[in-house]
């Protein structure tokens, strides 16, 4: 009946809840961010670093980055408590609901990315 439920492909319930709890306060409900303080998710940086998202979510980010042509250097906190499974759900929620990208990251690719985080 519900083959895909565990991965939230249909409704992104867990991804949405986790996003609201862990990310929304900074990146906003629509992912738009805040001026030159918090970068928008709809960005060249997001796409260019698609294979590093798992590492950014788990370990945070604290370096000067250029997003849609603007510099950002505030610190994003880490989320060591999020499981691989939860990270995949957050990414697929952002991708499909907020950013309307219509692409899907698998649990295995999140695990591969996390194994190779540079920090």
């Amino acid at each position: 009946m519900c083959y895909f439920c565990s991965c939230e492909t249909g409704t992104y319930v867990q991804g949405k809840t986790l996003y609201e709890f862990h990310c929304e306060s900074c990146h906003m409900a629509d992912g738009s961010g805040l001026a030159k303080l918090i970068p928008p998710l709809q960005s060249d940086y997001y796409d260019d670093n698609y294979d590093k998202l798992s590492c950014i979510i788990r370990n945070g980010l604290n370096e000067r980055i250029i997003v849609n042509g603007k510099p950002y250097e505030q610190e994003m906190p880490y989320n060591l408590g999020l499981s691989d499974f939860e990270i995949v759900n957050i990414i697929n929620y952002m991708d499909n609901v907020l950013l309307k990208k219509d692409r899907y990251k698998s649990l295995q690719s999140v695990r591969d990315e996390l194994a190779g985080c540079s920090y």
């Binding site: 306060s25 906003m28 805040l34 030159k36 303080l37 610190e75």
Partner: protein, 207 residues
């Protein structure tokens, strides 16, 4: 106990005023005070704060203007960016109103130096003479938050070390509290902006 009770009363008054019909003059919020035997509307007490430009502001320098106030700190990971987004929305709408200002008070003067506040304001890309990022010492800002009916506590368990509410408060040209909203809830900010508009009309007709 008495203290808790008075907070409950204040909150109840604030909540009750929410439902006032829009066409009426904005209410005066807070407990009335007796001054020389005469009942007066609650006023924000004396303050004197330094802004991101290292200039001082106080009740008097604010007084030809109406303003909105919030309390935050730069490293706040919880509600602050959301509230700032709404402050920015208010700023954008009233940017060209010469008699309208904004004050964001830092609750964390130890870490939020004048220099860091300046940088923060620049990153928000707002006019330094319209939106003040204000700093004073720790005890004073805590008391000041209470005087704006904002609950703020030093709490090492809370994210970033402070526990506080995301209220945005509207103050008139005489220092009276005339409205408030929840800065974390965009839907509550929309009618609040109409209140600001109404207050601007009020002071324009009064001159």
């Amino acid at each position: 106990m008495k203290y808790t009770l008075s907070i409950i009363i204040i909150t109840a008054t604030l909540l009750a005023s929410c439902t006032a019909p829009k066409t009426e003059k904005l209410p005066y919020l807070g407990k009335k005070e007796l001054v020389d035997g005469v009942e007066q509307n609650y006023k924000i007490p004396q303050f004197s704060l330094m802004t991101q430009d290292s200039t001082m502001i106080d009740n008097k320098s604010m007084s030809p203007n109406i303003y909105v106030a919030d309390f935050f700190f730069i490293s706040c990971p919880s509600i602050c960016p959301k509230v700032k987004k709404q402050m920015l929305r208010i700023y954008d709408r009233f940017e060209d109103e010469p008699r309208f200002k904004l004050i964001s008070h830092t609750l964390d003067p130890k870490r939020d130096t004048i220099q860091r506040l300046k940088q923060y304001a620049e990153n928000l890309e707002v006019d330094h003479d319209k939106w003040y990022f204000a700093r004073t010492d720790q005890d004073t800002v805590m008391d000041l938050a209470f005087s704006y009916f904002v609950n703020a506590f030093v709490d090492n368990e809370a994210p970033g070390g402070f526990d506080h509410s995301g209220k945005i408060i509207l103050i008139d040209q005489e220092g009276h509290v005339r409205g408030f909203c929840e800065g974390t809830e965009p839907d509550s900010v929309t009618p609040f902006m109409d209140d600001i508009e109404a207050l601007l009309d009020e002071i324009k007709t009064k001159k």
